[in-house]
């Protein structure tokens, strides 16, 4: 392999990891909700879209006030977007899913699709159906490689995405693994009825799951709006579908699985657009899903279904 080919390969890994981080953040929301109530929250992509909108609005507003410090913009935007988006997540669970608890599996699924359509139209009404854009907050980056050949470009934004994603995932892992509420979450995902009989308020745990999933989707939304500087009310659909694919790929119900699935999917898409054609990236992404489901139906890190009595 020539030097240029190696550098191109490295570039695709960088792009893939960036994309994969975003997928992974959204995928965690799918996987946690599935892990606890066994339902696919099809409105999750829209929750991410709302997170991106809030992010963009806050950044624009901060710009109007003349705030220029990048760390300050990042922290304020993340905080506000997480707050707003997770209250959406909580509200959706409270109004559209909790009243349907105990009904057949298909019922909350249909409710979720309804919520998804509702949120898309709600944002269109409030913010318009067109793209909303803004000036990039953080531009520039590093170039590596020969002056005359292929140069690897690593933007500051890509580094920021990776750092923020890793920080939030580490936080989530610690929370789930070490805290009491995290312990309650794990117990509920194994046997919700038993956890309830031992005195755990499972409705609270479920609400918390939606809040945490929405918070991570908000992080993804903020990062995406900073990266592309562009949002519209429909970005939730494809991103949600991809993140759902990532969650299934990694083994739905498993948090590390969702992280891995997101990264694998991001890398696959990035390589497909570089070495095949850009149009093939979705084909490869969903083809990969079908392949994994055929070979390993429980996903990369999923456990085989334990028989529940």
């Amino acid at each position: 392999m020539s030097d240029s080919a190696i550098l191109e390969f490295i570039q695709q890994i960088i792009n893939g990891l960036t994309l994969g981080s975003i997928y992974a953040l959204i995928a965690i929301g799918y996987t946690m909700v599935y892990g606890i109530i066994g339902m696919i929250n099809f409105a999750h992509g829209e929750i991410y879209m709302i997170g991106a909108y809030v992010g963009l609005l806050v950044i624009t507003a901060l710009g109007l006030f003349g705030v220029e410090s990048i760390p300050l913009i990042l922290l304020a935007t993340l905080a506000i977007s997480i707050l707003v988006t997770s209250s959406y997540g909580w509200t959706v669970e409270r109004l559209a899913y909790r009243p349907l608890r105990g009904s057949p599996r298909l019922v909350p699924l249909i409710s979720a699709i309804g919520v998804s359509i509702f949120l898309q139209n709600y944002v269109q009404l409030g913010q318009g159906a067109r793209d909303v854009s803004m000036q990039p907050v953080l531009s520039g980056g590093w170039r590596f490689g020969p002056e005359d050949g292929f140069q690897v470009y690593l933007s500051y934004m890509q580094v920021l995405i990776a750092v923020v994603t890793v920080a939030f995932m580490a936080g989530l892992t610690l929370f789930i693994g070490r805290s009491r509420m995290g312990r309650a979450c794990r117990a509920c995902s194994q046997d919700r009825a038993m956890a309830n009989l031992l005195g755990i308020d499972t409705d609270r745990v479920i609400a918390l799951t939606f809040i945490m999933g929405a918070a991570l989707a908000a992080v993804a939304g903020v990062l995406v709006s900073m990266y592309y500087g562009l949002v519209n009310p429909f970005i939730g659909f494809l991103a949600g579908l991809k993140a759902f694919t990532a969650a299934v790929l990694g083994g739905i119900g498993s948090i590390p699985g969702a992280m891995l699935g997101g990264v694998v999917l991001g890398l696959a898409e990035s390589f497909a657009s570089a070495y095949l054609q850009t149009e093939y990236k979705d084909v490869v992404a969903f083809g990969l899903l079908i392949l994994v489901l055929l070979v390993r139906p429980t996903g990369l890190m999923g456990r085989p279904d334990v028989e529940k009595v």
């Binding site: 805290s179 009491r180 312990r183 309650a184 194994q190 038993m194 309830n196 031992l198 005195g199 755990i200």
Partner: protein
């Protein structure tokens, strides 16, 4: 002389758990038909009967898992029906199931910490910043877990995954997990199922210890007659959803209706 004095001391203690007129209908099947019973503090009360007699249905109604068609369940005079499962547990009534239902991929000690969840502070702020109060509570929870692990002989395997324990160990862990919530009534659904004779004898000793040292009342469903007859203070026999006899083990053993239900007509 007042009537009160004529009663035996046991009868004088007010019932801890009171089940009245309990019936449960599933469509056309009357699974439980007007069952009454009372469990007094520190009493070991067993429900026995052939398969399909409705014993587990009674359990599910008492524990709030099913909503009974008619009848009331009261703990310490307070009605339990209509309460959410976690509130029933917080009032002091916990249960095990016929099949072991541990959190299998969590460690043994985590299984015991989970059931102390409600006694522990779970608000976000103290948890996030690990305040001294939070740490102290967590340490106390761990102490209680260690106490119960020692009690049921599982201290050596405290950090193993619960699903990897031997069956008898899993059964004991389930009991410890219930007892750590400091219940008033412990409901055990066939605790001896699948145990070998030695393990059954250990279980017998453990249940007696729980009653003697922790004052818990035990409501028991069991097929193992040697266990039931050995430890129960009072037995309720059911057949086809109906109660057919109540009494001490000696009375039950000689009751013709019970003999008929178990052995058929002569």
């Amino acid at each position: 002389m007042s009537l009160e004095l004529a009663k035996t001391p046991v009868a004088q203690t007010p019932p801890l758990l009171e089940v009245q007129h309990l019936s449960m209908r599933f469509g056309g099947l009357l699974a439980v038909d007007t069952v009454h019973f009372e469990v007094r503090p520190s009493q070991i009360f067993a429900i026995i009967g052939p398969n399909g007699a409705g014993k587990t249905t009674v359990f599910n109604c008492v524990g709030g898992f099913y909503r009974p068609t008619t009848g009331t369940v009261a703990l310490n005079g307070q009605p339990l029906h209509g309460l959410a499962s976690h509130h029933i547990a917080q009032r002091g009534l916990v249960r095990t199931f016929q099949n072991v239902r541990l959190f299998k991929t969590m460690t043994v000690v985590e299984n015991l910490l989970i059931s102390q969840h409600t006694q522990l502070e779970t608000r976000l702020f103290p948890g996030l910043f690990k305040t001294p109060k939070y740490r102290r509570a967590e340490a106390e929870a761990l102490d209680r877990a260690v106490f119960w692990l020692e009690k049921v002989g599982l201290l050596a395997v405290a950090n193993r995954e619960a699903g990897n324990l031997a069956y008898g160990q899993q059964r004991r862990l389930e009991i410890a997990r219930c007892m750590i919530t400091q219940p008033k009534v412990l409901m055990l659904d066939e605790p001896a199922a699948g145990l070998n004779p030695q393990e059954t004898r250990d279980l017998d000793r453990l249940i007696n210890e729980l009653r003697a040292e922790h004052g818990v009342a035990v409501l028991l469903i069991e097929h193992d007659m040697s266990l039931v007859m050995g430890i129960s203070d009072e037995i309720l026999v059911m057949e086809y959803g109906r109660p057919i006899a109540t009494g001490t083990p000696a009375e039950i053993r000689s009751n013709p209706k019970v003999i008929k239900a178990y052995l058929g007509e002569e």
